[in-house]
Amino acid sequence: MNRRPSWLAAVGWNLALVVACAVTLYPVLWVIKMALTPSQAFDLSPSPIPNTFSLSNFHDLVMATDMAGRWLFGHWLFNSVVVAGATTLLSLALATTAAYAFSRFVFPGRRIGMTLFLVTQMFPGVVMAIPLYLLLDAMNLLDSMVGLTLVYSTTAIPFCVWMMKGYFDTIPKDLEEAAVMDGAGRWTMFFRIILPLARPAIVVTALFSFMTAWNEFILAATFLSDETAFTLPVALQRYVGDYSTEWGHFAAGAIIVSTPVMALFFALQRHLIGGLTAGGVKG
């Protein structure tokens, strides 16, 4: 029989958890406080509870226009959504098919291919910034969403392939052989049997690709110079200047940027469940 934890231990554990939550949430609350405070000054009071409530920072940010009167926030949001969305779709399409091949087929270069994918993950993105800049420049893809999508996909795909291959490896081959006997070809098998069973891995992979593209700053800042081509993280950085920083606008922007990722995570988390293959084959 399990020994029930003592009353004292329960209090201790909960206390520790409360402290951990407070430490984690404190900066977040601070950001919220700054976003809701109309002044752009850095508030030195330690309290994370907002003492004013104003949406003016959000309003300024969302309604910002440039000299020509173009609605900047609309451009930024559109760019971010398109780049992140396209990166996710491209990464998923290429990673699932590549991972399936790596998982199921025997071909020359299979092992070295997987190793190379791993090696690319060992270099920080910044290292690739200059060569990528030159490549994009040569292809006339600077300041373009296509260029940025390609760059993000190349960074996301190796991880996605490893992730998906690992999952495909756990799907019993018997299921595919059963499908072969039922008359299915490779594509039918892939779309009707493998992909539905790999849903948890696909969700994680999609989330990862989306977040890679949505949050990325350094490469975007390197490749984008036209204000209307900015993605949200690059645009946010404009509020952190050399001489002054508009903390209120910056905090409001940070909240706007992180909200969709959080929403996506909550929406997808119910798919992040294991045991989808349960019952198909005798374990």
């Binding site: 052989e177 006997m181 299915a184 084959v281």
Partner: protein
Amino acid sequence: MAELKLRGVGKVYDGGVRVLSGIDLDVADGEFLVLVGPSGCGKSTLLRMIAGLEHITEGTLEIDGRVVNDVAPKDRDVAMVFQSYALYPHMTVRQNMGFSLQIRRTAAAEMDAKVEEAARMLGLSGLLDRLPRELSGGQRQRVAIGRAIVRRPRVFLFDEPLSNLDANLRGQMRVELKALHRDLGTTMIYVTHDQIEAMTLADRICLLEGGHARQVDTPSGLYDRPDSRFVASFIGSPPMNFLPLAPAGNRLTAAGISIPMPAGLPSDRLRATVDVGLRPHELGLAETDGGSIDATVDLIEMLGWDALVHARCGDVPVLAQIEAHGAAGLEHGAPIRFWAAPGAAKLFDHETGRAIKGGGAA
């Protein structure tokens, strides 16, 4: 409905590992053929080669007179039931069973009718909208069989379909499979390592060992006329006793053992040592003129109306299956004399293991 012809079929994997060689086998239309043998004998590989899941590296496979070595599995019109069931976990029973028809673009109404008919045959009608994980092992196995029968293939292949079920259910499913074969009349090839399954289900059995077909015969043929010591030891439960005996005149003897020489076997044709096979139930305690074995009781297993007596005659283990009341009171270390049923002894070459048969005598 189909007949199969295997000619010199062999399998060598890349890297030179040989798992099957020279399999010649004819399977008649509507026959229930069982491939049986110990683990690693190549029986599953042979079945997978017939299915088209493994490439045939030597020899030819004909289905209804057409060589199908290079024909894709889906065009061979065979269906297979896997040991692991291999049901699609994300599809309902109905979708699992209808999948092959859907791929063949069968009209929805016809598909429903066929799935429901198969479900009725297998007692699955109430479960059509369940997922595999909501079913018991026996039900899953039934769905796997249902998936095979909906499209009425020419040949059914079964790869140890009952080995994941508990003993009770296995016995029950065995009977159902036998009935299914009777009702469908389709050619079935069935792989198992369980000789009881093989004996009860088969019209004919092909016994494999080390990648070779050792004997192909009816269940009673294998049991009564084994070609070799291996066949004799594999078929029959509990397994046959083998006593290394020396021919002496018209008897076969060893210390404490004396068995009369079977008719038609002159002792001058035999080597110095012959393996004499006697099945446990062919040994008894009542005196016969089939010869005797003096042994020492090791232990007794009471099975209810009969009992297994494990004994030793020198170094040679002897197992006898006798009626329980005869075994009552036997104790470890007690001397015992078994009598062999007359004419029961089968002779095998001590070196090669091949059966030694009398010159025309029964």
